[in-house]
């Protein structure tokens, strides 16, 4: 981008640097003012400091949570398995409903660009921008309470991420195998199966395993709106003010997530 051949004088350099510094300073100043404004509005105005009380009171509230409710542990096994299964089935269902979205959302294979491409993009954005709690609410009102609503919520919620990443993977494939199969007279389906699928399958599997790991975390809270699993136990403990029980449930969630993370780490390693 060297447009002018005239070399910059020292004055020019100093002036440019000053200008840059002013812009930077203004930017930081605006950020700082925003921080002050936000603190003023959220922390100072909106907080009921009398309810919170002194630091000792906060310490007292926190100390309620210390301890483990051993009597609860045998009752946790069922919900833990349920949470795990909701995450697994939800991810697989998400992958299945995601296949058309991937196909429509990748620019190089989308069947009819002006309609199918925006359609897939809208579906992805919708799925990613609505929180899993809200999805679960919608599905609970459609199919009733239970694990099924949770599975649907997880599936719809994971569509966005899987489809977006996979569509990018499809857009970045090597076009030569595709051309070779076209040249041999392969149909669109054959191009799909033999030209594109083998190239993107490992990538998609990696994405799905990653999303599965996130879905375990999500499925652990879906019980809050009546979709079963550990979240329901958590909510029940919370409502009966059994705070050591709450800690126990959180530890169970933590353990499940550690297991999921280790599995995902090693299976993604095995894929490569």
């Amino acid at each position: 981008m060297q447009t002018s051949s005239v070399p910059l004088t020292v004055d020019d350099i100093v002036r440019l640097r000053r200008k840059k510094q002013t812009v930077q300073f203004g930017f930081y100043f605006i950020l700082f003012i925003l921080v002050l404004w936000s603190i003023q509005a959220t922390v100072i105005d909106d907080t009921d400091w009398e309810r919170i009380g002194s630091l000792a009171d906060i310490g007292k509230s926190v100390s309620h949570f210390i301890g483990i409710d051993f009597a609860l542990i045998p009752n946790l096994l069922g919900p833990t398995i349920e949470t795990f299964m909701i995450a697994c089935i939800g991810t697989i269902l998400g992958l299945i409903i995601c296949l058309p979205a991937m196909w429509f959302g990748a620019l190089n294979v989308t069947p009819y660009k002006p309609i199918t491409y925006p359609l897939a993009r809208i579906a992805m954005t919708l799925s990613r921008s609505i929180h899993e709690i809200v999805w679960a609410l919608i599905f609970v009102s459609a199919v009733g309470l239970g694990a099924f609503a949770g599975i649907l919520a997880i599936a719809v919620r994971s569509l966005g991420f899987i489809a977006k990443m996979s569509a990018e993977a499809i857009e970045n494939i090597d076009p030569k195998p595709v051309e070779a199969i076209r040249a041999m007279g392969g149909s669109n389906l054959q191009v799909m199966l033999y030209g594109i699928m083998p190239q993107v399958l490992p990538v998609i599997l990696g994405i799905v395993i990653f999303e599965w790991e996130i879905n375990i975390r999500r499925s652990a809270i879906l019980g809050l709106v009546g979709a079963g699993g550990l979240g329901l136990v958590f909510f029940r403990q919370m409502n009966t003010f059994n705070y050591p029980g709450v800690t126990t449930v959180i530890l169970a969630i933590f353990g499940l997530i550690v297991v999921g993370e280790i599995t995902s780490h090693y299976s993604r390693k095995a894929l490569n």
Partner: protein, 288 residues
């Protein structure tokens, strides 16, 4: 060229040892193919067992779409747009933005330090501080933001402060890991130079590590804000302020048309924030 074709010259039919045994070529050899099928079968069995265990009414799946459609058309359809241009609701939107901004800011400030401690190559004490910092970021990440919000609401009462703290924890978990990974992939030359000059750990971080990761950190910070905003739209659901509270109230009162309007506003805001964050990240990576 001849060599190359020779390498890939896998025959479709091969006669082993000249005895003319007819064999189909397959991608995986015998033990490997068995293991692959075994894994696939195991996964399938697990899924069918889970469907049975969770009591999923498979026969209701087909009817579900019709009911969902009816539900949308009957109850959610004309979204009550007047409700979301109401002054109180607009106030809640601003509160949500402030909450996300503050939460991610506090979280990022903490996770810069935590990321430094949790990066194996420059951690002040790889033996003691490193595992603790790792555990802290992982703990923050594994507990969902809604659970953080519930916990803080029980301790501090309703309001925006518990929301800000919940988002802080969420941002620590989200960005702490990314920061640590970013620090672990730096070039060690500068770090060693400063260590050789007798710089202490803080000097190593400030002069050796931070200049290398500054740009990447800014990108991660913007992304964290974007994700935190998405989470902020619903933490109010358990009483932590912002738009989530309006959502909860209308869901409880079965004001479905208002719920539809709120959902539309959430999607709109998230899309805007996504565009802003994408634009800012491109600007940052260009500015270097």
């Amino acid at each position: 060229m001849a060599n190359k074709t020779g390498e890939h010259n896998l025959p479709v039919h091969s006669s082993v040892g000249g005895d003319g045994v007819h064999r189909e070529w397959s991608r995986f050899k015998f033990p490997r193919s068995l293991i692959n099928y075994g894994i696939l079968l195991g996964i399938l069995l697990f899924f069918s067992y889970s469907v049975y265990y969770l009591n999923i009414p498979l026969e209701r799946i087909m009817g579900m779409f019709g009911r969902l459609g009816d539900l949308m058309a009957d109850r959610y359809f004309p979204p009550d747009m007047d409700y979301i241009v109401d002054l109180g609701y607009l106030d809640a939107i601003i509160e949500t933005i402030q909450m996300a901004y503050l939460g991610s800011l506090f979280g990022l400030l903490i996770s810069i330090v935590l990321g430094w401690f949790a990066a194996h190559n420059v951690s002040p004490s790889p033996k003691y501080i490193y595992p603790i910092a790792r555990l802290l970021t992982m703990g923050c990440r594994s507990v969902h933001e809604m659970i953080w919000a519930i916990l803080f609401v029980t301790i501090l009462g309703f309001g925006l402060l518990p929301g800000v703290l919940a988002l802080t924890m969420f941002s620590i978990g989200f960005s702490g890991k990314l920061f640590a990974e970013e620090i672990e992939s730096i070039q060690m030359g500068q770090v060693e130079a400063i260590r050789a000059m007798g710089g202490n750990h803080l000097q190593v971080f400030v002069y050796g590590v931070f200049p290398q990761v500054r740009v990447a950190f800014t990108g991660i910070a913007i992304y964290t804000w974007d994700v935190a905003f998405r989470a902020a739209t619903v933490v109010g659901f358990v009483g932590a302020g912002g738009m989530g509270w309006y959502l909860k109230r209308n869901v409880m009162q079965i004001e479905t048309e208002r719920v539809a309007a709120i959902l539309i506003s959430i999607v709109g805001l998230v899309v805007i924030s996504e565009f802003v964050s994408a634009w800012a990240r491109i600007r940052v990576s260009k500015a270097k």
